[in-house]
Amino acid sequence: MLKLPIYLDYSATTPVDPRVAEKMIPYLVEKFGNPASRSHAFGWEAEAAVEEARAEVAKLVNADPKEIIWTSGATESNNLAIKGAAHFYSSKGKHLITVKTEHKAVLDTCRELEREGFEVTYLDVMENGLVDLEAFKAALRPDTIVVSVMFVNNEIGVIQPIAEIGEICRAKGIIFHVDAAQATGKVEVDLEKLKVDLMSFSAHKTYGPKGIGALYVRRKPRVRLEAQMHGGGHERGFRSGTLPTHQIVGMGEAFRIAREEMGEENERIRTLRDRLLKGLTDIEHVYINGDLEHRIPHNLNISFAYVEGESMMMAIKDLAVSSGSACTSASLEPSYVLRALGRDDELAHSSIRFTIGRFNTEEEIDYAIRLLHEKIGKLRELSPLWEMVQEGVDLNTVQWAAH
């Protein structure tokens, strides 16, 4: 029996896996101790749970548990990594490099550093959404201290060349931070191999709870950070604040499941994504945003030309998806990620992001395909742009009365 609406927005957040929720609950009620309490069994029990979870997070990314710092989520991890490293190494230089398609948690952190007097280069991406390594090398300066590039893009799902960028940074002694919020459980992350110094993680994108994340801080070679949160000196002084044991236990369990099941799960999800893609490609004027090969199997970002994204989402309200259109916000600017690919604004406004996850079924995908076919036809009948294109008008030659 099909249950509506169908959730196809797993890159926004994931449900907590029931196995994870079950493991968390005792730490709310019976095992409530403060992991920092050294004087009694309540504290020891909580501390043991925190360390077990830390080991699980480390194991998923092939790191040492001592390199994992708990935070409130990837946004905090990004702030701590980028500001913390920039502040600590500011005597070496004042220049950072990042990419225009990064998450706002990285871009806005960089903006803040600019206000403090740092200089930031925001790299363009290629039409497929990937960083151009030659352009990256050209942007490096003698005073570059930090580079931040995301592993997997949240909107278009493309996988950036992290290994290659890491080699370049390490050779030049530049701190390399990677936002891996969208990568865990979806791509293999091996920090023994990757020359990454700092890496941000989130639990709630990988079937863990919201409000918990982690930052990987490399020990060999040692990476230093200036703390952003001061207090009791938790997490070896990197991040003060009482540890939320239940959240941490949830993240550990979620990452354990991800490690054990990702191989099989990714193949199943790839089959579903390819089924969705195949089911939609017979619609005219449909464009895929971002490289299809260097991409996680979970993501399909499509522009249905001449149909505006938000009205599309209203029409397919049985599907929980997201759109690159900005009509819902006060600004009329569509997705900055799609614009960075060089997509024209009309196509950016017409984009829908489908992200598939652990609990989707073939039946749900088939329902989505049928619904999209039906509604796109209806909305195009309503679209003056579609009418003009059918009459052979080139929309780029029209003098629009912009507002």
Binding site: E308, L382, P384, L385, A401, A402
Partner: protein, 127 residues
């Protein structure tokens, strides 16, 4: 964001969708907005010899509120003279559809579409 019932009704059952034939008499067209901004409205009016708007049709590329605003004005302009049609204000459209502040631009666009269609009529008929 939750839409008002009236927006949903116009969105699900848009009134007067379509275009008039190019040879029909008394037709004027107003096209406003831009694809880059995420909305384009095309409003057509059919004006009788007595100067009264007999019929109206629309097509809109845009969000649900934009579609609803243009659907609504096709109903409102019918039976009005050109001058009466020009008296329709975006605030009335926004109020009727209970548009939230971020969607006020949709009602402004609909008002602009009426103005553009009337201007087109006057230009064609040398007024």
């Amino acid at each position: 964001m939750a839409y008002s019932e009236k927006v949903l009704d116009h969105y699900e059952h848009p009134r007067n969708v379509g275009s008039f034939g190019k040879e029909e008499e008394g037709i004027a067209t107003g096209m406003v907005g831009a694809p880059a901004c995420g909305d384009v409205m095309k409003l057509q009016i059919k004006v009788g010899k007595d100067g009264v708007i007999e019929d109206a049709k629309f097509k809109t590329y845009g969000c649900g509120s934009a579609i609803a605003s243009s659907s609504l004005v096709t109903e409102w302009v019918k039976g009005k003279t050109l001058d009466q049609a020009l008296e329709i204000k975006n605030t009335q459209i926004a109020e009727e559809l209970a548009l939230p502040p971020v969607k006020i631009h949709c009602s402004i666009l609909a008002e602009d579409a009426i103005k553009a269609a009337v201007a087109d009529y006057k230009k064609k008929h040398g007024e």
